[in-house]
Amino acid sequence: MDLNFGEIIVNPVSRAFFDEYDENIQFNQPEIVWSIDEHQWNHEKSIDHFVVVEGVNAKKLLKDTVLNGTPKLICKVRKVEIYEVDEATLLCVAEEQDLNYVASISDLLNTFINKANTATIISLQRTSDFKADRIPDGCIIRGINSKLDDVEHLKPPNFVTGVGGAVSSKRLMNSQAFSCYIIYIDIFDKITVEKILTHLKRIGLKYDENVKIQAIQEKSNLYM
């Protein structure tokens, strides 16, 4: 259950939530909005690397770096956008928070998911969601199928969900290569942002390194 500071719990919510739905459930089927020729992507273009960056501040984080300048928007589904970063790489920026939609969104992205030679998923999560015997200070990076030797393997009961979880599951089902990295963050200060960007560079995302890295200001719920 995701609550903001100061939010009032009106009534207890059960995980058996669908009991509360009536027969005519309101569910707006997500639709894909293409910014360029759909046919080109479905039939002609090949994709070498499909990268998913998912999390609350994913777009803010990439705005001045990877998404600065040349990348062009290919399509959009709800809060998920796909950009062509270079000839070989597609970047999916996912900020969808309603998990009920992520499976149907990822179904619409099947063209990209299935076509790519390799996929890398970066999931930005809160440190409070990380479960371990000992919680290290600062930004924690864990991996599934990691290709980076210094990244520790994610241990149960930690997991990845969202569009990143869907892309990874589909690639696993199709026996296709993928790596998934989970970055647990407390605050998006300059050091953390720098660490995330370094990680993006290591997985193959290029950007102008002369850009001044800035902390991301988050909305505060404190009464100040």
Binding site: S14, F18, N100, I144, P157, T161
Partner: protein
């Protein structure tokens, strides 16, 4: 729906046991205990748009190459059972399609019957001194003494908080597939103890049950239960 088979077992006359996502996740926790204690093997990966996708390390082994996704099948040849473990909530909009596709799978594999492990809101049990374990069976389901000795026959037509169980049960009846729902009245919270009691009861219905130790089933808790409710409090704060 996609099923990626990892083994080629003949499932004819098997029982399909489904962990219904319900109050306190008792069905799923019980399925975890059965899979781990019976050393069941992974039979297939299952992906459906209705089930919220997740991926993580294996729930049962420390092998880094093994991964778990939102739903998977596990098989036990000695018990002739196949467990469908569902690890995440279900999107209500696709519920109908999920139930239909499970029924199609049961028919195509010639599986004999469906048993669902579920739970119900404890406040719906009006006679609190009654056995909290109950069952609902279809007319075609063969009720034996073992079942009635451990679970009370429910007199309710609905099981509040049981998740997809009743919907799938009704669809199984329409398709003339014997169907059983076994469930426990529970409250939301730390439901590990409920699921251990449930697994203990359900073990008595198995052909080759989990070996007993000191009069109780020797249940093996999976590694994925570690820190299920967060990590320990840092003692330095006191």
């Amino acid at each position: 729906m996609t099923i990626k088979k990892l083994q080629n077992n003949n499932l004819k006359d098997f029982k399909l046991i489904i962990a219904s996502v319900s109050t306190g996740n008792v069905g799923q926790l019980t399925a975890d205990l059965l899979i781990n204690s019976l050393k069941m093997e992974k039979y297939a990966l299952f992906y459906h748009t209705a089930i919220i996708p997740i991926i993580g390390p294996s729930a049962f082994s420390e092998d880094e190459k093994e991964l778990s996704i939102s739903s998977e099948f596990f098989v036990s040849e000695s018990n002739k059972i196949l467990i469908l473990q569902i690890r995440s909530p279900i999107t209500a909009f696709y519920l109908e399609s999920l139930c239909e596709e499970i029924i199609d799978f049961v028919k195509s594999e010639k599986i004999n019957e469906i048993i669902q492990l579920s739970s119900a809101f404890s406040y719906e049990q009006h006679f609190i001194q009654n056995n909290p374990f109950e069952f609902v069976a279809s007319d075609s389901y063969k009720i034996d003494e073992n079942l009635t000795a451990n679970f009370n026959k429910s007199s309710n037509s609905q099981i509040p908080g049981c998740g997809i169980a009743m919907k799938l049960h009704n669809l199984a009846i329409i398709n003339q597939i014997p169907s059983l729902i076994v469930y426990k009245y529970v409250s939301e919270g730390d439901n590990m103890f409920d699921s251990m009691q449930f697994a203990e009861k359900f073990n008595k219905l198995l052909d080759t049950p989990i070996i007993e130790k000191e009069g109780r089933a020797d249940l093996k808790i999976p590694i994925s239960w570690k820190h299920l409710f967060g990590h320990d409090v840092n003692l330095d704060i006191y």
